[in-house]
Subunit: 248 residues, 2 copies
């Protein structure tokens, strides 16, 4: 019987294989790596992103994403969660790698590679107790004067969000646990920058059958209060295969 091993020994015999993998890896150029988190929130009918003032002199006054270098032997997902946790105190939030940025001159201090992560969280769950470096929610609009290539990263992540929201009910991570259909619709309308028919929107989401009626109603609204719903993430995860996305 001819196994992979035998084939390998036949074909490899006259090649010089690398023995010392550590020396090999040492010989590669080494590059500093950071993660940058684009943390989206939704508040007051606006999409917002969590920013700080850059603490680098040459970017004085400019806005910066939340980032940090990757620790030794730290996986990047872990690094992104760490940044998120250190800044917001939150743990079990949505987080996804989006893209790696590598322009050689993107950092004034020399080559630094950064991996952008997107996170979505409910602004109400979080009080921003630590507001070092003017950590704050900044409207996604009118964002100019950002440090590094952070504007570009933000643009890519925002485009990613819009696209991803159509194929996955991501956006629900931006809402409180209980929400009205109006809030849900506002979310889609604002982020995707479209107008939707209220009745058809309603039908679409009810037909998906992932909304649980809490039996509760809105409060403090100057009109008839709407029902509050929860999203059944478990049911969604379970029936995921049959989810074909949202289209407007």
């Amino acid at each position: 019987m001819i196994t992979e091993e035998i084939i390998a020994s036949l074909t490899d015999d006259n090649r010089n294989l690398i023995q010392d993998v550590h020396a090999l890896v040492e010989s590669y150029p080494h590059v500093p790596i950071t993660v940058d988190c684009v943390i989206f929130g939704f508040d007051n009918n606006e999409l917002k992103v969590l920013l700080i003032r850059s603490d680098i002199e040459m970017y004085r006054g400019k806005w910066s994403l939340l980032g940090d270098f990757a620790h030794d032997d730290e996986e990047l997902d872990g690094a992104a969660y760490r940044v998120l946790h250190e800044r917001t105190g939150m743990d079990d939030v949505f987080l996804e790698q989006v893209k790696t940025f590598s322009k050689p001159n993107r950092h004034p201090g020399g080559r630094v590679l950064t991996v952008a992560y997107c996170s979505l969280l409910n602004i109400e769950h979080h009080d921003l107790e630590i507001t070092d470096n003017e950590l704050h929610w900044h409207s996604i609009k009118n964002l100019c004067g950002m440090a590094f290539d952070h504007k570009e990263i933000l643009d890519v992540c925002y485009a990613w969000l819009r696209k991803r929201m159509l194929e996955h009910p991501l956006g629900l991570n931006l809402l409180p646990e209980k929400f009205s259909l109006r809030e849900l619709q506002n979310l889609y309308e604002v982020i995707l920058d479209i107008k939707l028919d209220r009745r058809n929107f309603r039908k679409k989401f009810f037909s998906m059958d992932f909304l649980i009626d809490t039996g509760e109603y809105e409060d403090d609204v100057p009109h008839r209060p709407g029902r509050l719903y929860r999203f059944d993430f478990n049911k969604y995860e379970h029936n995921k295969r049959r989810w074909t996305g949202i289209e407007f």
Copy 2:
């Protein structure tokens, strides 16, 4: 008038800003970076991927993706194009970043971060003149015994391809310039692992209006030859906004 600058000076005055950005960057852990290219081809009604034998002793006989470390001051896209060019001699091919892999133990020689790129090319345009390390097209099926985490990378890229093919006519990069509708349908059927109705498939693609009838016909087929078409990438790029994707 209150400018960003004035605000900055007010808010930043009592902070210690970092002056020496080079020292900052030097203080970060430095990590070796590689790119790995998942180069897809389509031949004989099979999806294939370009592989070599690993040249690392401990992976003797195992298959490996085409990769290389990133040169100093080389953008990653550039590194991926370089790998592609060195191995296939091709320049103007589709290439897209997919994901960055960072498990600390993914490389036996120590921590190495790799950025996976996907490329699609027409197998016929390329003769694989350089076949060092047994460079060859390997069927996407029955892939076991791969070096590093390359099986995982391949799986992620294959999933990416299937998803991306539904929202963008990527797949056409895998076909020769002139192709029959049967070849196009085979491509979709094989990659997405579905059966499609020939007549509806035809209608769908014609209605998109991106196919140009070359007036030529297939040759060397043991049955009635089909018309050959070209894809109008320019027209597609121009009308992109109205493209809503493909759904089956």
